[in-house]
């Protein structure tokens, strides 16, 4: 028995050594290596960076939500190949769980050279040092980043202002309404509430408004009423302010008074489906709704309108976006930058957004048909995710508490506010 244990122990030690031996590339226990400490660009200091002088191969890793998206990307990459024949792009669609797969690839130091980064997890990826800083490239080439809408571009900047990605496109949340049931879209939140009251019980409506019981839409209404999650310097929670608490209560009351309902409770997968099927008259979605409604519910009459203004009196909405970033471990950073600056520049983004599935993230690209309201919102939109590390935990705390209030029937803002504030402070202190 003892001998058996000994052999087992030796075998384990061997296997263990095989696993930890990673070729000496990473520092041993105790040593640290700050992420992203690589020099870029690899051209001599002082010389301007000329993208057309670069040649090489670049692996592009991306998700793909639809055949239309693949076609749009193919067209953009074809246009790139024409403009920069010296750089070859090897496109690699990462199927399945993009976020989890990419993290394992970063762990193996085998990530694609260039890849998508969703706003949702950008702060975590920046913090973990997965992404290459781009400022030196931007400066050396003189790449114009001034036309990017701030509500998109700021998400991909570190706390010190370093740029780790440039938005490949972007969406803002707008109000989409059934034009049969709502001839004149409400301009203010007060009008929205009274309209919802008058719509109750009309047609086959399960509820006038389709709402998510969370911050993914709730944040826009929080901002509209002068509330916020964070103080202006991002150092502390502001969800417990009087304005914020009132806004959360206002949002809960929509559920309480039957003006709004979550899509799941209507038997729908999401609010777009609720609008299409006529279960709801007004939903709050981004540009992705357009292609969906065209293919799934071409007979439902609907339109986009800008978000109603709240007690703050100012126009506000929130953004959803994704960026192109370069991997810290990439061996082809210069060539990857050439692709990045083309795809996020006016020409490349123009081709990409003509596909009808994406909305430009910079103001010098023509607005594709049907997306005027979405782009109009970009002028005043604030980030809807990715503006603080650990935002998923905050969102989760808010949503869990809100769902508990709704299913428990008490509809009180205080538990939601305190759960969210606790989580914000915990995340900020980490």
């Amino acid at each position: 028995m003892r001998q058996r244990l000994l052999i087992l122990g030796a075998a384990m030690a061997l296997a263990f050594a095989a696993c930890t031996g990673d070729g000496g590339g990473s520092p041993g226990p105790g040593e640290t290596e700050p992420g992203g400490q690589t020099t870029a660009p690899q051209t001599p200091a002082g010389t301007a960076f000329d993208p057309s002088a670069i040649s090489g191969e670049v692996t592009l890793g991306q998700w793909e939500s639809s055949p239309a998206e693949r076609d749009a990307l193919t067209e953009a990459l074809d246009a790139f190949a024409q403009a920069y024949p010296n750089v070859t792009v090897n496109q690699e669609t990462i199927a399945g769980d993009y976020r989890a797969q990419m993290i394992t690839r970063f762990g193996a130091q085998d990530a694609p050279d260039l890849f998508y980064v969703n706003a949702e997890y950008a702060p975590e990826w920046i913090r973990e040092g997965f992404l290459e800083p781009l400022d030196d490239y931007i400066a050396a080439q003189g790449f114009d980043t001034s036309t990017f809408y701030e509500g998109y571009a700021n998400i991909f900047k570190g706390e010190d202002g370093t740029t780790y990605g440039l938005p490949k496109d972007g969406n803002t949340i707008a109000m989409a309404y059934n034009t049969d049931l709502v001839p004149n879209p409400p301009a203010t939140l007060d009008e929205l509430v009274s309209l919802a009251d008058s719509l109750k019980g009309q047609g086959d409506l399960k509820a006038p408004l389709c709402l998510s019981p969370g911050l993914d839409r709730g944040l826009a209404f929080l901002y509209a009423q002068g509330g916020s999650l964070l103080t202006d310097d991002n150092s502390a929670s502001a969800i417990d302010s009087a304005e914020s608490t009132a806004a959360v209560q206002w949002y809960l009351d929509l559920f309480k008074n039957g003006q709004g309902m979550a899509p799941g409770d209507m038997g729908d997968g999401w609010c777009g489906e609720a609008l299409g099927k006529g279960d709801a008259a007004i939903v709050f979605e981004g540009g992705w709704l357009l292609g969906y409604m065209d293919t799934e519910f071409p007979d439902t009459p609907w339109a986009f309108a800008e978000m109603p203004t709240g007690s703050s009196g100012e126009k506000v909405t929130i953004t959803y976006t994704a960026a192109y970033s370069i991997g810290v471990d990439s061996q082809n950073k210069d060539a990857a930058w050439v692709v990045l600056q083309y795809l996020t520049g006016p020409d490349g983004m123009g081709v990409w957004t003509q596909g009808g599935i994406a909305v430009p993230s910079r103001s010098d690209v023509p607005v594709p048909e049907g997306f005027d309201v979405i782009v109009a919102g970009a002028d005043y939109a604030r980030p809807g995710s990715g503006f603080m590390p650990g935002y998923n935990d905050v969102q989760k705390a808010f949503q869990d508490a809100m769902v508990a209030e709704i299913t428990g029937g008490s509809y009180s803002a205080d538990p939601v506010v305190s759960a969210t504030a606790d989580k914000i402070n915990e995340v900020l202190n980490q």
């Binding site: 263990f16 990473s26 226990p29 105790g30 989890a100 975590e124 038997g267």
Partner: protein, 316 residues
Amino acid sequence: MTAATQPQRTGRVRRVGERQEALAGYAFIAVPMALFLVLNIGTTLYAFFISVWDWNVRTGPRSFLGLGNFERLLNDDIFLIAVKNSLYYTVIWVPLTMAIGLFLAVIVNQKIRGRTFFRAAFYFPAIASSAAITILWIFLVQPGGLFDEIRGALGLNPLFAAMGYGPTHNWMGDPATAMNSIIILNAWTTSGTFMLFYLAALQSISNDVYEAAAIDGAGAWQTFWRVTFPLLRPGHFFVATVGVIGALQLFDQVRIGGGPNGDPNNALMSVVLYLYNAAFIQVNLDYAAAVGVVLFLVIFAAPLVQRRIFGSGPAW
């Protein structure tokens, strides 16, 4: 060990042959054993190692935390909910699925016409992919879905009303019913596999004991409870062990049913889902490894406890 009981063999030739046989045996076992050591034992030990460091995905260890992650786990409300949910799932799902599996096995063990068809039919849900069948299930139990319509058509709504549910209910969206929906789904899909295990165990019971029971005048019910059920003990042990290990690893169905956050309100947060959340949403690999270590210890200990309950198991 066995050599001592065998008669002494003499002659060089014989010994050389034995050694060659042993060498061939080790050679055959070497590849799978090496894979097992590296991929199973090695990764498990590596997870133990990661769990005591502040660990960067890309660059490895940053600073030594010792048991810090484990202390944090004990004070992590969501982790404690995940543990509670996984235990609840295990305690309800394993006996339920065992009962259904045994019931089906006894049925298809009868000499009835078309029993091959029934065996195949009962096993069928087990071969469907868990992702596909979970999505199907979400549609079935959505408000106004097939489940709601059937209970309405069968006139069962007064019964549901007495339990506080309206004619349509969001079974997966209500924190009170979400986990039970998953339990029923998995009891349905896995009972076919358990049936198969029980069928094998049933067929290993000698016909002699049934004849003896019949001669003693035992009825069908008595025969089942006094003869079949106790003789199935190795089968119970095996099915319960496999069931508990599988139940503690609950992931696919809750990931698809409630997303990475275990919505609604953590009702579908299992331990493995929380591990996934820590690793891939929070990007906190060392913390996820600590969750994995705890899960490993629990899963490692569970069969030992079960061995106590069922007495000493069979030879395997």
